[in-house]
Assembly symmetry: C2
Homo-oligomer: 262 residues x 2
Amino acid sequence: MRVNKDQLKRMKKNEFVRTAIEYVDAGVVITDPELPDNPIVYTNNGFEKLSGYSADETIGYNCRFLQGQDTNQDDIDKLRLAISNKEKIKLEIKNYRKNGEVFWNELQIYPVFIESEHQTYFVGVQQDVSKRKYAEERSDHYLEQVKRLSTPIVPIDRNVSIVPVVGEIDDERLELLLHNVSAHIQKSGDEYLILDLSGVSHFTSQLHKGVYQLNQLIKLMGAMLMITGIRPEFILEGIESDFSLSTVKSFSSVKQALVSIQ
Amino acid sequence: MRVNKDQLKRMKKNEFVRTAIEYVDAGVVITDPELPDNPIVYTNNGFEKLSGYSADETIGYNCRFLQGQDTNQDDIDKLRLAISNKEKIKLEIKNYRKNGEVFWNELQIYPVFIESEHQTYFVGVQQDVSKRKYAEERSDHYLEQVKRLSTPIVPIDRNVSIVPVVGEIDDERLELLLHNVSAHIQKSGDEYLILDLSGVSHFTSQLHKGVYQLNQLIKLMGAMLMITGIRPEFILEGIESDFSLSTVKSFSSVKQALVSIQ
C-alpha cells in the first residue's frame, strides 16, 4: 500500500459514479410505475447504444417498444406478471433495436425504493448476449451432427448397408440408432444390415438389449440383421433371458457376412 | 405520450445514476495514473461481485491482482503498453476471482479526463463473458468432431477398411481425408482401402485430383486403393491429364472389391 487509502476514498464522489455509468455496455432504464403505463424516466448511454434510441425518443414511453414479432409471448407474460406483482425477474428475451436488428437481451428487472423520491421505481438492466446465444445454438447444432454421424449407416452393396459401432452404447445413442436404421431401411429398401461390433470395447447388457431390439425392428421391416466382430460369449450370455440373441446371424467378419448373401 | 416529458427529465438526477451503477453486472474501476503504480480509486458493486474483493480490499492497489497463472502474457503486455501510451484498449483475458476461480474477462480500458479532478484517469469496464467463451469452445470442439466423423474410416475385414464419401469434397476435407487415411494405415497395417464414392453427387475435378493424391499416398505406404461406386467416365475424364486415374482399381460395388481380394 503505497498511497493513502483515506485520500483515495474521498475521491469516490459523484463524478466518478457518473463517469462509470457512461462507460458500461449494459443498458440501464428506470421506470416509474406510479405514472400511467409505467414509462421510462431515466436511461444511460449503454441503453442508447444497445437499443439505438436516444433518451429523447424513449423517456416517457413504456419499454415494450423493444419487443417485436419474434419476441416470445410467454416471456412477455412473465414480465407483465413480475411488474404487476412488483417482483424482480431475470430472463433472456428476443428484442429489437431501432434499426430492426434482433438481439438477445439478458434482462433483469428490480423494484427499487429511491429515497429522494420516496417511492418504488423499476430498474431494468439489459445486456446484449447475442454472441453467447448464437455460440450455444451452434454448439447444440454441431453436437446433434456429432450424434448422428457417430453411428453412420454405410451402404456397401446394392441391398446391404453396414453400421459400424464404435465406443459405448447408451440409451440415447441406442434410440438414435433404432430411429436412423428404420428410416434408412424404409428409404433404401435394403434387405440386409450388418452391425459391426468389432470397435466396441465393452459388451454390456445394454448393448445386448440394443442388438435384440434392433433385430426385432429389422425383422418387422422385412429385412435381416447380421452381426460381425463379436465374441461368441456375447451371444450365449443372454440365452436364458428375455433378450436372447440366439436367432441373430453372426459372422466373424464383414466379408464373410457379404459372401453369405446370395 | 401520456406523461409530461419535462417533468420526467427533471428526475434524471444523481440518485438515479447512483442507483443505476449499483445494478449493472459489469465491473467498473477507475484508476489514477498520477499516483505510484496506477492504483484503483473507485470500484462499483459490480466489480465487487465479479472479482469477489470488497472495495476496501482493492482501493489503493493496482488491478494486476486479477491476473494469475493462466493469464496470457501477451495480453498483459498489450495492457501495459496501452496504459503507458494512455490509449484505449479492449481484450478478452483470463482473470481470477478472490476465491481462485478463473473467468473470462472482456476488459475495456479508456483514458478519461475527469473535470472535477482536472486530470486523466483510466476507466476499466469488466464483463464476465465465460459462458460465451465456453460455448464457443464447445462449438469449435464439436465442429472438429463433425469434420472428423464426416469421413469415417470403417474397418470391414482383417486388413481392409472402407471410406464412404458423402457430399462434396473441398480442399479442407481432402486434406483431412489424406491425413486420417495415412494415420489409419500406419496404425492398422491395413493392406486395402476401399474408397466408396456412391454417395457423391458431383464428380468434380477437385475430387479427381483428391482420388489421385490418395492413390499415390496409399501406394507409398505399401497398401492398395480400390474405388467403388463411380461412373467409368470419371476414370476416363482425366486420362490425358497429370492426374490420370488409369492405374486405380475400380469396382462396381464394395462386395465385388472384397471378393477380388484373395
